[in-house]
């Protein structure tokens, strides 16, 4: 199969160096992929191992998987179960992603299609919000949130995450919108659609890959965000990363349960990404225009 794959790549008419180069490429790719996936492998296997298996040295590769850690994490541990924090994370991530994408798409369309005074400056300013590390703003934001009385609330995190994601969404989607041939929108104008209707019915469907990719990026960011969640929440609105951070207790770190919660933390994003990736099709506008 490898040899057939190499031939398909047409590495040059009958050149003798073709064969080793192909296998070398695959080897390098395989090693790199393994390197990236290894931590994830460790998390999942540790979550499924019994306590003895976790601490065994040399590490056990063949083990009998058990769901004990998951059970413990969800139902046995005191205080709020992991599910509570999972739901918090979900609510905050979904709402902030939704807001960022919807508002960002509209702003991006405006940047792509309209010209108005100060457009260049505004665009740069939006980009500039990403220049500084988030930790630089943590104190002022804390004070603002406290003054408004929104500490430990979902809304605070939603608003902040939306604001943080907005700049990325706008920058990515602006490029996508600009790629739509303007004639398609002009055709819709002649056909009787208003600008707003064109935005929803023509432009947005055509930038679906952009919407999906920015949604994925925003969701991942919101889901994993730790610093602001840590500072601005306590108990009611605490997210999964905050919960994970506070996992160690007087008895030390419960590795199995820790990894179980970690697995549960990764799963929703994974599922979401797999579900929407088929929309990441390239060239949605190819062929509409010569």
């Amino acid at each position: 199969m490898t040899v057939a794959l190499i031939r398909n790549k047409e590495l040059g008419p009958g050149s003798p160096a073709a064969w080793p180069i192909g296998t070398l490429r695959y080897l390098v790719a395989a090693i790199f992929t393994g390197f990236c996936l290894f931590p994830f492998y460790v998390i999942v296997t540790t979550a499924l191992k019994t306590e003895t298996a976790i601490f065994a040295w040399p590490p056990v590769w063949n083990f009998k998987p058990t769901l004990q850690s998951f059970y413990n994490a969800l139902f046995v541990f005191g205080g709020r179960s992991a599910v509570f924090y999972l739901i918090n994370s979900m609510v905050i991530s979904v709402v902030s992603t939704f807001l960022a994408v919807v508002l960002g798409a509209m702003a991006a369309y405006a940047f792509a299609r309209f010209s108005f005074a100060g457009k260049g400056h505004l665009a740069f300013w939006i980009l500039s919000t990403r220049f500084a590390p988030p930790v630089a703003f943590i104190v002022p934001i804390y004070l603002m949130v406290q003054k408004v009385g929104l500490l430990d609330s979902h809304i605070a995190l939603i608003l902040i995450y939306t604001a943080m994601n907005l700049s990325l969404v706008i920058w990515i989607l602006r490029g996508f919108f600009a790629e739509i041939p303007i004639e398609i929108e002009e055709a819709a104008l002649v056909d009787g659609y208003s600008r707003l209707q064109i935005f929803w019915r023509v432009a947005v469907p055509l930038v679906r890959p952009g919407i999906v990719s920015t949604a994925i990026l925003s969701a991942i960011f919101s889901w994993n965000e730790f610093l602001y969640a840590m500072v601005l929440t306590q108990s009611r609105a605490a997210t999964l990363p905050v919960y994970l951070a506070g996992f160690s207790n007087s008895m030390g770190l419960a590795w199995g349960e820790y990894m179980a919660v970690g697995t549960m933390a990764v799963l929703p994003i994974l599922v979401f990404t797999f579900a929407v990736q088929k929309h990441l099709v390239r060239g949605l506008t190819f062929g509409a225009v010569k």
């Binding site: 398609i184 002009e186 009787g192 659609y193 023509v202 469907p205 190819f286």
Partner: protein, 370 residues
Amino acid sequence: MAEVRLRGVCKRFGPVEALRGIDLVIPDGAYVCLLGPSGCGKTTLLRCVAGLETVDAGEIHIGSRSVEALEPFARNVGLAFQNYALYPHLDVRGNLAFPLHAPRHRAEFDDEEIEQRVSSVAALLQIEALLDKPVVALSGGQKQRVALGRALIRNPTVLLLDEPVTHLDARLQHEMRVELKLLQRRVGTTTIHVTHDQLEAQALGDLIVVMRDGLVEQVGAPDELCRRPATSFVASFVGDPPMSVLRVRLEREADRLSLRVGATRLRPGERLARLLDGIRDQQVEIALPAHDISLGQAGDVQTIPARVQAHEWVGRELQIVVALDGSPLRLRTQKRLALRIGDEVAIRLNFERAHAFDPKTGCTLQSSTD
């Protein structure tokens, strides 16, 4: 269908004046071609009629309504774009029905009527078999039909075509010309067709509007443009092949007029002499139809030496382009000659049907009765 009238239409883009005062009447039900080289303003004019560009000055009337201030949708025009501009996320049926689903028009059409219109337009353009296909899977010719169908589905008052066949294969272009003309005859809609291909304009247009640099040079039926060009530009642009335009110097000796071309002096013949009789200027532009230019023998009377610049087969005739005093001359011959570029040949000019133009303005010096 309705008449389209333009009066004093001007449009500029920054420092560039795309339209410099267009006055035009397009008769009801006519197929009119806007013809000209790139940059002449023909596409801008079409877009102004459609409403995609606002005019800086002037009026546009469709039928009895003044439309220059109206939005595109309010003008009831159908526009087929040069590169089709189909909605890629919809199939053919969706593309055809899209104009009818516009919220503004929603009240006018119920589902049944929409379905019926889609079927009849699809039948008209012979694309019934394609209705459920995604547009990205269609060939160029098929996409063009869908674009036409979308433009026609609301029974527009005016049909606007922006270089509809330019991007098709050569053979398909010729076939589509016939289809477009027959289609227009069937639906009877006033049609404005923009093209840079003068053969296409001649084949299709009831009237041709020749444009250049934002102005209309001449409006007329194809025959008229070929036989009685109003300017030297029209003479050199329209025709198969177009006329060849020469700059000549007038020399008067006693009462006799002769034309100096380069180093050779030629006699103009009676008709041309009469035409140039009252001309004070030294220089004049003469346009000659291709069949009045022929190959002669060097040394013959009334022949001029010239160098071959290009030679190509057009059908069974050999078209030769020679350079005469800096101007290119096109002639066609049935003879089978083996020519190479740079060869010297002798050109004989027949001024019997020549046209004369003022070299400064380009306008014809002929009276309309000539």
